[in-house]
């Protein structure tokens, strides 16, 4: 009797497995591979009871995609591809003619389309900061928040835009000596 009870769940497991394989369609007996498989090896092998699920693919939310895009934008605009191909040094150096000491040079002088790695990254950061500042301003004007948060967002936004613009103008003035003259 206990034998029978033990084999019954095995049969059930097998039949559940086969039904899952065949996929709710009525043609259980038409498939030759199914019959072959039923014979060998699953007549003497017992498939284990697993609780696997196919990974479900759900699209990420819009704001997740936006933050990924912001990261990519930062890389492109800092001249990352330029860094990979031309391989400039992280920071340049020049020798002081009077004392002979080696001084670092942050901005590559002489031409518009050239950079060192660090100046690219810092400028890219300033651009992204300016963009985030405008986003913070928009968030500050959203009505469904506490007033203190709105105020802090707007202050952060305004200061971000201000700093980003001032720094960027400063950078470009250092890089191109004749700027706006």
């Amino acid at each position: 009797m206990s034998q029978k009870i033990r084999t019954a769940p095995k049969q059930d497991a097998q039949s559940v497995g086969t039904v899952a394989v065949v996929d709710a369609s009525a043609q259980v007996s038409m498939d030759p591979f199914f019959h072959i498989l039923k014979l060998i090896p699953y007549s003497f092998l017992r498939p284990p009871r697993l609780r696997l699920k196919l990974p479900s693919f759900s699209l990420p939310s819009a704001m997740t995609v936006f933050s990924l895009i912001l990261l990519t934008y930062f890389m492109v605009v800092s001249g990352f591809i330029y860094d990979v191909i031309v391989e400039p040094p992280g920071i340049g150096s020049t020798q002081d003619p009077a004392t002979g000491a080696v001084r670092p040079v942050v901005f590559l002088p002489g031409r518009v389309n050239g950079q060192y790695i660090i100046e690219g990254l810092s400028s890219g950061f300033m651009f992204v900061l300016g963009g985030i500042g405008i986003v913070l301003l928009d968030l500050a004007l959203d009505k469904n928040r506490a007033r203190s948060i709105k105020v802090s967002y707007s202050m952060a936004g305004i200061s971000s835009i201000f700093i980003a613009y001032v720094m960027t103008t400063l950078f470009i003035r250092i890089k191109i000596p004749g700027y706006l003259r």
Binding site: D23, A24, S25, L59, A62, M63, V65, F66, I69, L70, T72, Y73, V76, V77, S78, G79, F80, I81, Y82, V84, I85, V86, V112, N113, G114, Q115, E119, G120, S123, G124, F127, V128, G130, G131, I132, G133, I134, V135, L137, D138, L141, K143, N144, R145, A146, R147, S154, I158, I161, A164, Y165, T168, F171, I172, K175, I176, G178, Y179, L180
Partner: protein
């Protein structure tokens, strides 16, 4: 009640008072007219400073072909075989150019002549690019209106009118494909987005014709035929499949493909080339989607449909992959060409194709190039992306994709900043418009009582929220006014920057050089045209000129002489032969020159003026390209410890090669700068190594007044004893 005196004057004035809608229309139309005129006149700096002439190198070829078209008509132009370039190979011009630009210019020329304005074709060519830039601003307005609203459209028109990224290739005199192509690109995209939004067959067909114009204008049409399928794919993935999308894409793809095959240069690439296969794949995928939709409509059993869906998608993907694989293996579908492959893998050109890597426009972009060409748009771009993501629709998804893909390509190659400019301007316009709208809403919000404040329920008690709101209203209004002034300040700085950049950096004709003299006066070097005119006047009509490929188009157009290689660079071996001749000793070089029937050699030399884009600075590229085909030329032979030098410590092969001799012939006696020895090269900043140069097989024919262009005549072989 007070009585109002009705004078006839006030009655007259009242009859002129417009309704608000009409006022708005008047403001919009006047803004667009002003922007149209602004876009035209900001590009006229070089015409006002120098004269109305064609700039750079490539536009001279376009000008020559336009001249041929006006003189000989369309069928002769379409079937033209040019024996005056690439001697002795010749070039099939009819089948190797994009005719859109020339046909457009000739059309404008004929219209003007019909209206009895007897202009020269050169004036039409010079002013074609600014005219199309103005048209682009109009298209940007309509596009912005389609994506967001009329405010964004107006801001987009203003931004793109003066954006330096666009001005750099569409200034007056820059008669190049891009001037017309950017208009065609934006126009095609606008028509396609309009078709997807409305689902109308008329707009889809219009977008197909817009695509045809783009294919006829520029090789960059590959961007359209890859971006639009990518966009369709993204829409399908995000579940936005609709009948409108089906109609729009099908019409545009099929009709656009058939029309594109009318251009001989493109030919059957739409079915044969790997770069166009994405469009075909998405076309078939759309048919599968439509089929599945129809089956779903017919079936009532969802489970059955799920099974059917899975089987069909698997089969479709499998069949597609097999077909693609068969096509590529059998060679019917050609792989991606080097030019476009180097966009996906930027390191490819550096290692394998030195000709592509040598062009300065093909270098990757540094941050300062971005800042130079975009200024504050770089801040507004991420903010605009945020607004687009907040309000996703079919149209905003398109502009986001266009912006992202074009920004990536702009990062890979400096020249492609031009393609990214319309997207950046549109997205920035969205940011500006949304921010200004938010601020003005804040300004206009009246004290609608405290009802609005209390219903939000953001603070602890209603009483305190009422009080806070009352106190914050004037503060908010002042804050909004201050921020609006800040925005106005930033935009005015943008305008100042754009005008300065256009005036200083992008308005130089390149064929005429300008410099500041010792007393701050402007000195003009017109050596190039002097040399080409000398060639035209003083050499026999069938003389062949050998020079580096940069100057080929200008020599053929202005000097009217046959050249060996020119800017088309279609034959790498021929260019490598010229490179080999330039980098060999004189005895070996004369063999090559005699085999090519060369009569004159032209070199460009900047040692006297300090001009840095001369042939000595380009010499290493000649060595690399020559060495790529003829292994006898080795680059390390010309370098000393990996360094490129021309002074006493230079490599002996460098000091005696043909290019060195031709550039520095008789230069050793020349005093170029006060306090420096004779033979001081101002461009390299050193005194040259080999001052005593004797030429055996060439003799000097002409040197321009500032020694920039030097022409040598190949002596005929000695008589036998």
């Amino acid at each position: 009640m007070a009585t109002v005196t009705n004078t006839p004057v006030s009655d007259l004035l009242k009859s002129f008072k417009l309704k608000t809608k009409q006022q708005e229309l008047l403001i919009r139309v006047s803004i667009l007219c002003l922007v149209y005129i602004l876009a035209f006149i900001i590009r006229l700096f070089s015409v006002l400073r120098y004269e109305s002439m064609i700039h750079e190198f490539d536009p001279y070829f376009n000008y020559r072909t336009t001249l041929y078209l006006t003189q000989n008509g369309f069928y002769d132009f379409w079937n033209w075989f040019d024996y005056e370039s690439w001697y002795p190979l010749g070039r099939i011009i009819g089948g190797t150019l994009y005719p859109g630009l020339m046909v457009t210019a000739v059309l404008i020329y004929r219209i003007l002549h019909f209206l009895r304005f007897a202009v020269h074709i050169r004036e039409v060519c010079v002013l074609t690019a600014p005219f199309f830039a103005s048209n682009t601003t109009l298209v940007a307005y309509f596009f912005g209106k389609e994506i967001w609203d009329t405010g964004a459209g107006l801001v987009a028109a203003i931004l793109i009118a003066i954006c330096p990224g666009y001005i750099s290739r569409s200034v007056a005199g820059s008669y190049d494909n891009e001037g017309v192509a950017i208009f065609a690109l934006l126009f095609t995209f606008y028509l396609f987005v309009k078709a997807v939004n409305t689902g109308s067959l008329a707009w889809s067909l219009a977008s197909a014709f817009g695509y045809f114009y783009m294919v006829s204008a520029w090789g960059g049409y590959v961007f359209i035929i890859n971006l639009i399928p990518l966009y369709v794919l993204v829409l399908l993935i995000t579940g936005r499949y609709s009948m409108r999308l089906y109609i729009a894409y099908n019409c545009m793809y099929v009709l656009g493909m058939l029309l594109a095959m009318q251009i001989r240069f493109v030919g059957f690439q739409h079915v044969q080339s790997g770069e166009h296969m994405a469009a075909m794949g998405v076309f078939f995928l759309m048919q599968v989607f439509y089929f599945l939709d129809w089956v779903k409509h017919m079936l009532s059993d969802t489970k059955l449909f799920q099974a059917f869906l899975r089987i069909t998608v698997t089969c479709a993907v499998a069949v597609g992959t097999i077909a693609l694989g068969l096509g590529m293996l059998s060679g019917y579908i050609s792989p991606w060409t080097g030019r476009f492959y180097s966009l996906l893998d930027p390191t490819y050109a550096k290692d394998h194709i030195p000709i592509i890597a040598s062009v300065s426009e093909h270098q990757p972009t540094a941050w300062s190039s971005f800042m130079f060409d975009y200024h504050i748009l770089l801040f507004l771009f991420p903010a605009g992306l945020y607004f687009c993501f907040k309000r996703l629709s079919d149209a905003t998804i398109f502009i986001v994709m266009y912006g992202l893909t074009s920004m990536y390509f702009a990062g890979v190659m400096v020249r492609l900043i031009l393609v990214a400019t319309p997207a950046v301007c549109l997205i920035s316009a969205i940011a500006v418009s949304a921010t200004v709208k938010n601020l003005t809403v804040l300004l206009r919000s009246k004290n609608k009582g405290v009802l609005t404040g209390s219903t939000k329920g953001s603070s602890s008690s209603k009483a305190s929220s009422k009080a806070l709101l009352d106190q914050s209203q004037p503060f908010q209004k002042n804050g909004a006014i201050a921020l609006l002034f800040g925005a106005f300040y930033l935009l005015s700085k943008y305008a100042t920057h754009c005008t300065w950049v256009t005036s200083e950096a992008y308005s130089s004709p390149s064929i005429v050089l300008a410099a500041r003299g010792a007393h701050g006066n402007r000195v003009i070097f017109d050596d190039y045209r002097e040399a080409y005119f000398w060639l035209r006047q003083n050499t026999p009509a069938d003389a062949k000129v050998m020079s580096w490929w940069d100057y080929g188009y200008q020599i053929t157009a202005m000097g009217n002489r046959t050249v060996i290689v020119d800017n088309n660079t279609w034959n790498n071996t021929h260019i490598a032969t010229v490179g080999r001749a330039m980098s060999s000793y004189e005895d070996e070089a004369i063999e090559i020159m005699r085999s090519l029937d060369v009569d004159y050699v032209l070199v460009v030399f900047g040692g006297v003026t300090g001009y840095s884009s001369d042939d000595i600075n380009k010499f290493l590229w000649m060595v690399r390209i020559g060495g790529g085909v003829f292994p006898v030329i080795k680059e390390p032979d010309y370098l000393v410890n990996g360094e490129y030098r021309v002074d006493k410590g230079a490599a002996p092969k460098m000091l005696n090669c043909l290019m060195y001799k031709l550039c520095y012939y008789r230069f050793g006696e020349m005093l170029t700068e006060y306090g420096k020895p004779p033979g001081y090269d101002r461009a390299r900043g050193v005194e040259i190594g080999n001052k005593d140069i004797k030429l055996e097989h060439l003799e000097e024919a002409f040197t321009t007044s500032n020694w920039i262009v030097r022409i040598y005549k190949v002596k005929p072989p000695n008589n036998r004893w």
